[in-house]
Each structure stands twice: as structure tokens, then as C-alpha cells.
Amino acid sequence: MKVELNVNDRMVEIDVEPRKTLLDALRDDLRLTGTHTGCEHGVCGACTVLVDGAPVRACLMLAVQSDGHEITTIEGLAPAPGELSVLQDAFCETHGMQCGYCTPGMILTAHALLQKNVTPSREEIVDAISGNICRCTGYGQIVEAIEFAAERLARANEPRAAAAE
């Protein structure tokens, strides 16, 4: 079946079997392997992408269901090649990852949270990432990374003197 979708601001057309998940279509047909395959049945969150801005598990959506939707993957977050988004940068700085398997899903989930809530509390952050499993970090530095990014983003619009404080 032909499916037309917008992936990271680019219109693409793929021809897939109805049984193919969006996850497999992104990885195999579009070669966007930043979206990770974990459990393949909706438990781990490693495959999280944004569909029309909302976090969705790509293994729980068929590629044919995504026809006409806007998909954002981890490859679509950085402002330019070789750069990182503020949130990605925060993960590096606070050591919010070890093996990195959960990281793309964590970052997209956190990205969606920060889009609708610019000053999330610790509880809101923990709740937002509660569907994403990390086997390495113990979550502490991930929460810290998201708090750090939220703070930086909030200050980004302040005059320089205030931001430098």
C-alpha cells in the first residue's frame, strides 16, 4: 500500500505491507535508524516518535495508519547538521545517557513535554517519562537533563545580562 507522510518536514512516499509498523517503515524504508527498536509491543518506549506533535510509540502504529500525518523523529530535532537541540545538549552535559538505547525515545518524550509545559515540575517530568524504560542511568540524570533544558529554554528569551547571572 502506498503511504504518504511528512517526516521531519519532508514529504515522503513509501510502499509498505499493511502489517508493517511505523517503526519498521522509519528504520527500513526511510533509513532513519535513530528511532530504536526495543520490545516491539509497546512496553519500553525506545521507539517513541512525535505524530502531529504528540509522543506516540512507533511500534504501536501501523505505517498505513500514519498516512497523511506529520512525524518527527530524533533526526528531526537538531536545528542543523552537526548541531544539537538545547534538550539534546542538556542530556550530554548532565550525563543523561549511558548506552544510549533509550535516549531518542526519552528526548522526544521530553521534547513534547517542554513544548506544552515550559516550567514542568519534577513530578510532571517523572510522569511524562514514566513510559520510557532506561536500564542504565537510574533516571536521575535524565530528569536533571530535562530540568536543565527547561531552565535554559526559559532563559533563552531573557536579556543577556539576566541570562548571564
Partner: protein, 292 residues
């Protein structure tokens, strides 16, 4: 884990859905797919045809109809969670929605899908049974209205015929000083509940309970309503409440499984049910205060 092959079709009306269901014995409806897709991946379900109803406009609505709020079956759980009408008119559903799965599953999962799936520990079926909601089904051109307590027959088994399409749920709207309580316990945040409880009550101007409903999930193989008629008509007495809830839960038939024993489920349900009623009562009292 990859699903077995199937065909996929996206009809644009409920009539077409019903026609497809009538002609294809092995067809399944897919809306959000948050339960069905894992079942396909594990090959616990092997339909030959998937009928996608997610984009059918007539199935995506939230509207008042007399003293009921009608929610179209393909309304996403995330949409319902954000709906001011649901928060205002069916506060119990509003309170239960954040407990369903995680935000990423609620952005795809639907209200009708959760009802049709009939998991014994699912939140929306519990709310439907507690509030005495009505489930609306279409079969061909015929419409059937089934009370929620008759709709859920057992674990993942409902009164809907294979060729029926669930189109909406009708939830009663209560007036006056209404309060709700929702409680559940699971191993991890948003896992399947071992036990859950939903309560809604209203108070008369003197602070006496004028109406009260309670339901528990995860204990029997379907959500069940517990009659608390004996505490109505008076102000809340904790002792009488506990006794009434205990005798209601005592009569339930709990199952032991891998996750929890029957005795644990009943004990947890008792505690959660009392908490839910107390929570509902304090919310209703606050509502009564603001009306004064």
C-alpha cells in the same frame, strides 16, 4: 515480533464498516490499536482484514444529549482528557483518564476501543459500569443500546456481536454538588491495575448524600458496581461506609493470577473503594461550599 499478514481498509462511514464486518468473518476493527497491535505482533490475534475507523467523523464527537454526554467511539483518550465538557459533565471519567497507560498510548488509544477491548482492569469500562452508562452498537443499519453492566461479560468478552461496530458511549450527567474519587494500585505507574475503584456522589444542601455510586475493577473478570444505597440519605458515616463497602466486596468472586492473589485483590479493592468514596465526598463538600 511481526504481525501475520492482513489486508487494511479505511472506510469513511459506519455503514461501510458494518457492511465490511458482515462480509468478512475474520475482520477486526482497529481504532487506536494500542492493545490490538501488540496482540497482532504476538500473533494472539490473526485477523485477515483490519478496518480502520479512526478517521470516521461521526465516531469522533463529544456532545451533550439531554441529560447524557455522548462520546464517539473513536475519540482519542488524549482528546477526552483535554475536553472541558468531559471535565465538567462527567468528572469521574476526567479523573480516570490520566490513569490509562501512558501519555504516548493515550495519544492514540480511543475511548470506544478501551470499552470494546473489555480488559477487567481497564479504567473506562470501570467508569462506564459505575455510572450506568449506555453502550451504543451498530449492526448493519440497526442500532442497539446496551447498559454497561450487561455489556461486559468477562475478560475481553462483551455482548457485542462480531459484526457489530461500537459507535458511542452515553454517560449520565449529574447535577448539584457532585464529587468524584478514583483510586488504583499497580506494580508500576500506569501498569495494569491489580485493583481499582471509582466513586461518584452528590450532596443535598444539608450535606446529606443524595446519590452515590461505586464500582471496582480488577477484582472480578469485569468491572462491577457495588450498591451503597444504605449510606444514602444521610451525612457520611465512615463506619457505616466501611461496612457497606466490605459486604459488597465480600460478595465478589476474585481470581488469583500471576500478578495478585484473590485475597489481595479484595483487600486492596476494599481499601481503594473506601478511599475513593471519601475522596468523592470531600470533593462534593468543597463543591457544596462554593455553591453557598
Amino acid at each position: 515480533m511481526k504481525p501475520a499478514p492482513f489486508d487494511y481498509i479505511r472506510p469513511d462511514t459506519v455503514s461501510n464498516v458494518c457492511a465490511l464486518l458482515a462480509d468478512n468473518f475474520d475482520a477486526r476493527i482497529i481504532a487506536g490499536g494500542q492493545t490490538l497491535i501488540p496482540m497482532l505482533a504476538m500473533r494472539l490475534a490473526r485477523p485477515t482484514l483490519l478496518i480502520d475507523v479512526a478517521r470516521i467523523a461521526e465516531l469522533r464527537r463529544i456532545e451533550i444529549d439531554g441529560d447524557h454526554l455522548v462520546i464517539g467511539a473513536a475519540t482519542r483518550q488524549a482528546e477526552a482528557e483535554a475536553s472541558p465538557d468531559i471535565a465538567r459533565y462527567v468528572p469521574l471519567l476526567h479523573a480516570a483518564l490520566p490513569w490509562i497507560g501512558h501519555a504516548p498510548t493515550r495519544s492514540r488509544g480511543t475511548v470506544g476501543g478501551s470499552i470494546a477491548n473489555a480488559d477487567p482492569s481497564a479504567e473506562i469500562p470501570l467508569v462506564a459500569v459505575t455510572l450506568r452508562a449506555e453502550i451504543i452498537l451498530r449492526e448493519g443499519e440497526d442500532e442497539f443500546i446496551v447498559p454497561a453492566e450487561d455489556f461486559f461479560i468477562g475478560a475481553m468478552v462483551t455482548a457485542a456481536a462480531p459484526e457489530a461496530c461500537l459507535t458511542a458511549v452515553r454517560l449520565p450527567v449529574w447535577n448539584g454538588a457532585v464529587g468524584v474519587g478514583f483510586q488504583e494500585i499497580s506494580a508500576r505507574r500506569s501498569d495494569f491495575a491489580f485493583a481499582s475503584a471509582a466513586a461518584q456522589l452528590s450532596l443535598d444542601p444539608e450535606g446529606r448524600i443524595s446519590r452515590i455510586v461505586l464500582g471496582v475493577g480488577g477484582v472480578e473478570d469485569r468491572p462491577v458496581a457495588i450498591d451503597l444505597g444504605e449510606v444514602a440519605g444521610e451525612v457520611l458515616d465512615r463506619r457505616r461506609l466501611s461496612d457497606a463497602v466490605a459486604s459488597g466486596i465480600e460478595a465478589l468472586h476474585a481470581e488469583t493470577d500471576l500478578h495478585a492473589s484473590a485475597a489481595y485483590r479484595k483487600r486492596a479493592a476494599l481499601d481503594l473503594a473506601v478511599k475513593a468514596v471519601v475522596q468523592a465526598h470531600s470533593n462534593a463538600s468543597a463543591a457544596l461550599e462554593t455553591r453557598r
